[in-house]
């Protein structure tokens, strides 16, 4: 997937490369071909390339709205009774290591799950002072 896309009007004039304030565009001339490259981590999405392109070739909408990138896939842990998603397996393991008793995700509404989560992530002043759940 490419965020920076041009239509077939692009003639490789390099106006976009020369006018990109973030140096997010470059052209590689190799053999018989010129390749235009874009680096998303440098791009400020300022729109300068789109404004100055003499060919109206830059399809800037793909830099404003585009697809989602998959980042990571993790196994889910579900309530053994109702089947609802609780959290990821890895998160549950981290949570279990912070609790004094084994975590058993069984309904009535996942037993005390939300309360335990709250205690873990938002300790009260009293529990912080005692060093609980930290």
């Amino acid at each position: 997937m490419s965020y920076f896309q041009v239509n077939d009007q692009c003639n490789g004039c390099l106006a976009c490369v020369q006018n990109c304030p973030a140096n997010a565009l470059q052209a590689i001339d190799q053999g018989p071909a010129r390749t235009l490259q874009h680096n998303m981590t440098r791009c400020a999405r300022c729109g300068n390339c789109w404004r100055i392109c003499p060919q109206d070739a830059i399809e800037f909408q793909y830099l404003l709205r585009n697809k989602w990138d998959d980042v990571v896939k993790l196994q889910l842990d579900r309530c053994e009774v109702c089947g609802e998603t609780l959290y990821t397996l890895a998160y549950g393991q981290g949570l279990a290591s912070k609790l004094p008793t084994a975590l058993k995700p069984l309904c009535a509404k996942h037993k005390a799950g939300p309360e335990l989560l709250a205690q873990t992530h938002f300790p009260t002043k009293a529990s912080s002072a005692k060093g609980e759940n930290t």
Partner: protein, 226 residues
Amino acid sequence: MIVGDLKALDEIIASLKGYRRILAVGCGSCVTVCLSGGDREARELARELSRTRYYAQDPPLVNWTTIERQCEKDFLLSYLEIPEGTDAVLSLACGAGVQTMASLYEPLPVIPALNTTFLGASNEPGVWEEMCRGCGDCMLSFTGGICPVARCAKSLFNGPCGGSQGGSCEVREDMPCAWAMIFYRLKKQGRLDQLLKVREPSDWRPAGGSGVRERRRTGIDGSPGD
């Protein structure tokens, strides 16, 4: 970045009184980063404004969208879609974005949802501090990178006032005195001589005293480059 704060909900509701189809527009730049006017806040605000509890009659229809920057007319013209029948826009941008939208879509009312507060930086998650007042005649090179205009409660330009006590400002004890910070920073840098130099009075005209400030970058649109 430009920092903004969401206005109180009752103020927003009062300013939208009488409008039935509202478009809340988030801005994808500074106010997204300072967690006050981005896509998430636009969506939350639209949802909140749609609740019946705030209205004696039916609530208005509040849609929401976000554009990368509300302060650029060509972005708005090309990419912002305002649903037909919208009778007011609620902008979650800074004042620059609100005014750009208001001028572009005249006579459609563009109502601010934010108070634009200052130019600042985040020193810790969720906390932003004023750093710059955009005075247009930067003296940070003489003051160890600490701005007395923005960081001194009195914007004193030539040293601390008599209220500087133990490194704190007299206006608020938890606020460090800008000039104490400047002194200690320059001392660490071995540049205390900077404070002894006599300088020309600052030019305050670029601070806004000459009317609307404008920056023209030459070399754009065929103008002679520099």
